[in-house]
C-alpha cells in the first residue's frame, strides 16, 4: 500500500475569462437609496476592459475544480522541509471568522477594541515566554518581513551608539531571505563556510569576527536539521566583538519547551506563525513573522506596540527611537488570532510535546532510510533530515525522485536546498503525522530507490498520475506569458 496515488476523474477547466458571457452576473447589490452621483468626465472610467461576466454558479464550479488540482496538508503527507507543513486545526478557522474579530476595524477606538488588543498583548507575552526574549513585535507579515524588522533594529542599535559597521556574517546553509534582508538594510553580506560537519564552529565565527561586523545571522536548528551546538560560545564571540546575533526562527518547531534561543544568547529572532503555530500556508501566505528581542533593543521596536496599563490595553505610538512601521496597521491580525487559538489549545505542555514528536518523527524517517539514501551530515537530526541523491541509481536525480513521489501520493520534500548538499532532499514530517503515515512514506521512498535501479524510466517520466506532467519552466521564463489576453 505504499503507492496511494492513483488516477481519478479530473475535470478540465478554462480560465475564468473564457467563461465570460455579456449580461451574466454573479453579484447582487441593494437598490440605491440615495440620489445617484457622477464624477467629472475627465475622471470617470469607461468599462473595465477584459473583466469577466459570469454567474455565481460559474465561479463556484470554476474555483472548486481548480482546488481539486491542488495538494494540501489535508490531502496528505506534505514533508516540505523548512516549511513545517503541520495540520491546520479547524477551530482556528472558526475563531478567526468570529464577527467580533473579523469585523473589527483597525481604526476602532482602543476602548472599543480591547478584545483584539488584549489578544495581541497576550500573544506577545506568550511568544516571549516560548523563545526566552524580553519583548515581541507582532507587526511583520511573514518570516522575511520579520527578518527585515529584526535586522533594522540591529542596525538602529549600532547607529545609536555611533557604530557604522558594514558587514553581516551569514553561513552558507542559510535561507536566501537572510542575505537578501541584510542587503535591504544596507549591509554587505559575508558568506561563511559551515564546514563538512554542517555545524558552525565558534572558531570559524571568531576568524570572521572583526570591528566591522554588525551581526551574525544564524538559523538554529540549522537547515540541515542540526542544532548549532556551539551557539552559546558563538554568541559570546560576536558580543565580545561588539556585534549582535540574529536567529532565523524558521525551525523553532524542533525546540519548544526544550531550549530557548534567548537563553542561548541570541539577541533577535523571528517566528513563523504559519510554520510553528499551525496557521495555514494559504498557497503562499498570508503568514505572520513576529520578532523577539532582548531588552536593549526595545527602544527600536516597530511602532505601534501593544502595551498594557492596569487592565487597559493600548497602542503605543510614542516611541522616538523606533525603526518605524513596516506595513499598515498592526500585523496580520487574522493570522495572529489563529496562532493564539493554537496556543490556547496546546497549552505550554502541548507545545513541548509538539517538538518532541516532530523530532521523533524526523529521526524515525532517518533511521528507516539512512541505509538506502546517502546522509551527508551524521550529527543527530532534530525536526528534519537532509539526504543527498548520491546513492540514487539508474541516472536518476533528486528531481526525478520528487516527481515520482507525486505518483505515490505524496507532496515532495524540499529539494536542492540547502545548497551545501548535492541534490538535497530535505524531509520535515512535523508532529501531526502518525507512525502509519510515516511508515507508508518510508516504504514509498524505499520502493522508489529500488525502481531507480531497476526501472528508472518510472522516475524519469514521473509524474504520471497527476493532472499534468512535468512542465516546461525554461520556455516559461524565456517568453513570459504572465496574463490572459483576449484574442484580437
Amino acid at each position: 500500500m505504499s503507492q496511494i496515488g492513483t488516477q481519478g476523474l479530473i475535470l478540465k477547466e478554462k480560465l475564468i475569462f473564457e467563461h465570460s458571457d455579456p449580461g451574466r452576473k454573479g453579484y447582487s447589490l441593494p437598490a440605491l437609496d440615495v440620489p445617484p452621483a457622477s464624477l467629472p468626465e475627465e475622471l470617470a472610467r469607461d468599462e473595465i476592459k477584459g473583466f469577466p461576466e459570469v454567474s455565481e454558479v460559474d465561479v463556484v464550479r470554476h474555483f472548486t475544480r481548480l482546488s481539486t488540482w491542488n495538494y494540501g496538508v489535508d490531502s496528505g503527507f506534505y514533508p516540505l522541509g523548512s516549511c513545517t507543513m503541520k495540520y491546520n486545526p479547524k477551530i482556528n478557522e472558526v475563531t478567526s471568522r468570529l464577527p467580533g474579530m473579523a469585523g473589527c476595524h483597525p481604526h476602532t477606538p482602543e476602548n472599543l477594541s480591547q478584545g483584539a488588543l488584549g489578544l495581541m498583548y497576550d500573544l506577545q507575552e506568550a511568544l516571549a515566554e516560548v523563545s526566552g526574549f524580553d519583548a515581541v513585535t507582532l507587526q511583520p507579515a511573514a518570516g522575511a518581513h520579520g527578518e527585515f524588522a529584526g535586522m533594522l533594529m540591529i542596525r538602529a542599535w549600532h547607529e545609536a551608539q555611533g557604530n557604522k559597521r558594514k558587514k553581516v556574517l551569514i553561513p552558507d546553509t542559510a535561507h536566501g531571505t537572510n542575505p537578501a534582508t541584510a542587503a535591504l538594510c544596507g549591509y554587505d553580506v559575508v558568506p561563511i563556510d559551515s564546514g563538512d560537519s554542517g555545524v558552525l564552529t565558534a572558531e570559524t565565527v571568531a576568524r570572521h569576527m572583526d570591528d566591522d561586523v554588525a551581526a551574525l545571522m544564524i538559523t538554529n536548528p540549522n537547515t540541515l536539521g542540526i542544532y548549532e551546538a556551539e551557539i552559546s560560545k558563538i554568541c559570546e564571540i560576536v558580543h565580545d566583538g561588539g556585534g549582535l546575533v540574529y536567529c532565523d526562527g524558521a525551525n523553532l518547531n524542533a525546540v519548544m519547551g526544550i531550549a530557548r534561543p534567548g537563553d542561548a544568547g541570541v539577541d533577535v529572532m523571528h517566528f513563523n506563525l504559519h510554520k510553528t503555530f499551525a496557521t495555514p500556508h494559504g498557497g503562499g501566505g498570508p503568514g505572520a513573522g513576529p520578532v523577539g528581542i532582548v531588552d536593549k533593543l526595545i527602544p527600536f521596536l516597530p511602532k505601534p506596540l501593544v502595551v498594557k496599563e492596569g487592565d487597559l490595553y493600548s497602542l503605543d505610538y510614542d516611541r522616538p527611537e523606533s525603526i518605524g512601521r513596516l506595513r499598515s496597521f498592526y500585523g496580520n491580525f487574522g493570522v495572529l488570532l489563529r496562532a493564539w487559538t493554537y496556543i490556547l489549545s496546546m497549552g505550554g505542555s502541548g507545545l513541548k510535546k509538539v517538538s518532541e514528536m516532530a523530532v521523533l518523527n524526523a529521526n524515525y524517517i532517518r533511521a528507516r532510510l539512512d541505509t538506502t539514501y546517502d546522509l551527508p551530515h551524521k550529527n543527530r537530526s532534530l525536526h528534519e533530515v537532509v539526504f543527498s541523491d548520491k546513492n540514487l541509481g539508474g541516472g536518476c536525480r533528486t528531481l526525478d525522485l520528487a516527481k515520482r513521489l507525486i505518483d505515490y501520493g505524496y507532496h515532495p520534500p524540499t529539494v536542492y536546498f540547502p545548497l551545501v548538499v548535492q541534490g538535497a532532499i530535505m524531509i520535515e514530517p512535523t508532529e501531526t503525522e502518525s507512525r502509519e503515515v510515516i511508515d507508508e512514506f518510508c516504504d514509498a521512498m524505499l520502493a522508489i530507490a529500488e525502481e531507480a535501479e531497476k526501472t528508472p524510466e518510472l522516475l524519469l517520466e514521473a509524474p504520471r498520475v497527476s493532472a499534468l506532467g512535468r512542465l516546461d519552466e525554461t520556455s516559461a521564463a524565456r517568453k513570459p506569458v504572465l496574463r490572459y489576453q483576449e484574442e484580437e
Partner: protein, 449 residues
C-alpha cells in the same frame, strides 16, 4: 492531544527503531547549559469548546458593524463579501497548500494566481502584475525601491496626502539605503501642488508617489503629474488604498502611471483589525525583470497540455540571495485568491455599480454633513467614498459622543497630522444605508448645538 496522533506504543516502537532509549536522547546534541529544564509558564491545554468560548469572550469586547453604524475607512474598508467567497477559500486544497513549488500538483493555486495577475492588470491598466505583496503600504515601499533600481537615482518625492502609514512604511524601508525622501505639499482643494512639484522634480528624481485617491479621499489628476514626472525621466507611482474606486475612476495605466500599487482588502476580505489584506503591484512589461515578488506564467507540460509555473525566479531571494530584487518569500496568496474570486463574481458591471453606489452614498453624506452648522468640507476637489470634515469644536469629544449613540463617526486626522485637530475623515460605502447616514447627520446636529 488531538493534533498529535502518537500513542505510547508508537513512541516506544519508534524509539526502538531509532535505537535510543528515550525522547530526551534525541536532544543530546543540545548542550546542557541552554536546556530550559522547567515547564513553560503558559496556560494548560484547553478543550475545543473552551477555546471557542474564550475567543468569543474576547470578540465581544470589540465594536463592529453588527452593533455600530461605522464610517471608518482610512486604509481598511467595510464592504460586503458574497458568501461564495468564504466558502471557496475554505476548500482546504487551497488554504492548506504552500507556495506552488511543485507545479504538477499545484495547478489550482497557479491558475488562480494567473487569473489574479490578469485581473489586476485589467483593473490598473498595466501590463504585468506580481502574485501579491504583504499589503498596500509595503507594496508602495517596494515600488520606491524598484524605481531607484530602474532609474539609478536616489531622490523620491512623496505626496503629503499619501496615506501616512504608506509614507511611514516607505521611510522604514529606505532608512539605511541612502535614499532622499521629499514631501510634496497639497493645495487648498486637497490635490497635490503641481507648481511645487515642478520645483522639486529634477534629474536626480527617481519617482513621485501619489495616493489615488489620496488619503483625504480626493481624486488626483494623474495625467498632468505623469507628464511632469516623465519630463525628467522619473516614474509615476500611484498608490490606491481603496481599490473599489478603480471601478469608477480612470485606471492609473490609462493616465500614464508607470507603477500601480495598492491594497486589495476591499475585494472580499474582512477588515480583521487591519490584516491580512493583500498588496497589489503592477507595472509595464519592460520592467518585469526588476519587479519584486513572485510571478506565475503560462507554459506547457511534456505532452503539450497547457499549464502554469512560477517563473522569472532569478530575480528572487532563493536564487539571487543578496542581489535579489526583494527579500519577500511568503506573500499573501490566499488573500490574492479571495480578490480573484470576488472580482470574478462582481465582474465588469458589478465593480462599476459598486463604485457608483459608494460614490453616490458618500456624495449624499458629504452634502448633508456640509450643510450642518459648525461643519464644513474643507477640500473642494472631487472625492470617491471618503472625505474630510472640519468641525469648529472638539473633534475628539464629538467622536466620543457619537460612540455613545453607537456611531463610529470617522478617523480623527490628528492621529496622523497633529496640527489637524479640527478635522476627521469620513468613509461611506455600500454597506451604509441612507438611514445610517441620516443618523450620523442627526447626531452631528446635536453636536453642533
Amino acid at each position: 492531544m488531538r493534533y498529535i496522533p502518537h500513542t505510547d506504543e508508537d513512541v516506544r516502537q519508534m524509539l526502538e527503531t531509532i535505537g535510543v532509549k528515550s525522547i530526551e536522547d534525541l536532544f543530546v546534541e543540545i548542550p546542557g547549559d541552554v536546556l530550559l529544564n522547567r515547564d513553560y509558564d503558559l496556560p494548560e491545554p484547553m478543550a475545543e469548546a473552551e477555546v471557542l468560548s474564550e475567543l468569543k469572550r474576547l470578540a465581544m469586547q470589540n465594536a463592529t458593524v453588527d452593533c455600530y453604524r461605522s464610517f471608518l475607512g482610512g486604509g481598511a474598508y467595510n464592504h460586503f463579501s458574497p458568501s461564495a467567497v468564504d466558502h471557496l477559500i475554505s476548500r482546504s486544497e487551497f488554504y492548506t497548500a504552500y507556495t506552488p513549488y511543485q507545479p504538477e500538483i499545484s495547478q489550482g493555486t497557479l491558475q488562480a494566481i494567473f487569473e489574479y495577475q490578469t485581473l489586476i492588470c485589467q483593473l490598473t491598466g498595466m501590463e504585468v502584475s506580481n502574485a501579491s505583496m504583504y499589503d498596500g503600504a509595503s507594496a508602495c515601499a517596494e515600488a520606491v525601491l524598484m524605481a531607484i533600481r530602474a532609474t539609478r537615482r536616489s531622490k523620491v518625492l512623496l505626496s503629503a496626502s499619501l496615506h501616512p502609514e504608506y509614507r511611514e512604511t516607505v521611510e522604514t524601508y529606505c532608512r539605511y539605503l541612502e535614499i532622499e525622501l521629499v514631501g510634496v505639499p497639497y493645495l487648498e482643494d486637497g490635490r497635490i501642488d503641481q507648481g511645487e512639484l515642478s520645483n522639486l522634480l529634477d534629474k536626480g528624481t527617481a519617482a513621485l508617489i501619489v495616493g489615488y485617491p489620496n488619503f483625504f479621499g480626493v481624486i488626483e489628476e494623474l495625467a498632468p503629474l505623469a507628464e511632469k514626472v516623465h519630463e525628467v525621466g522619473a516614474l509615476l507611482v500611484s498608490a490606491t488604498a481603496e481599490p473599489v474606486s478603480l471601478g469608477g475612476i480612470k485606471s492609473p495605466g490609462e493616465l500614464g502611471a508607470d507603477v500601480a500599487v495598492g491594497e486589495g482588502q476591499s475585494f472580499g476580505m474582512p477588515v480583521s483589525y487591519g490584516g491580512p489584506g493583500v498588496g497589489f503591484f503592477a507595472t509595464s512589461k519592460k520592467r518585469v525583470r526588476s519587479m519584486p515578488g513572485r510571478l506565475c506564467g503560462a507554459t506547457t507540460d511534456k505532452d503539450g497540455q497547457s499549464g502554469f509555473v512560477l517563473t522569472l525566479s532569478t530575480r528572487e531571494q532563493h536564487i539571487r540571495r543578496e542581489k535579489a530584487t526583494s527579500n519577500i518569500c511568503s506573500n499573501q496568496g490566499l488573500c490574492a485568491l479571495i480578490a480573484t474570486i470576488y472580482l470574478s463574481l462582481l465582474g465588469k458591471n458589478g465593480l462599476r455599480e459598486l463604485a457608483e453606489q459608494n460614490l453616490a452614498k458618500a456624495e449624499y453624506a458629504k452634502a448633508a454633513i456640509g450643510a450642518v452648522d459648525g461643519f464644513v468640507i474643507p477640500f473642494t476637489a472631487p472625492t470617491f467614498n471618503e472625505f474630510v470634515v472640519e468641525y469648529d469644536g472638539n473633534v475628539e469629544g464629538l467622536l466620543k459622543r457619537l460612540e455613545k449613540n453607537y456611531i463610529l463617526g470617522g478617523v480623527p486626522l490628528a492621529k496622523y497630522f497633529p496640527e489637524k485637530k479640527q478635522q476627521f475623515l469620513v468613509c461611506v460605502t455600500e454597506q451604509n444605508s441612507k438611514a445610517d447616514i441620516d443618523a450620523l447627520v442627526d447626531a452631528l446636529k446635536g453636536g453642533a448645538a
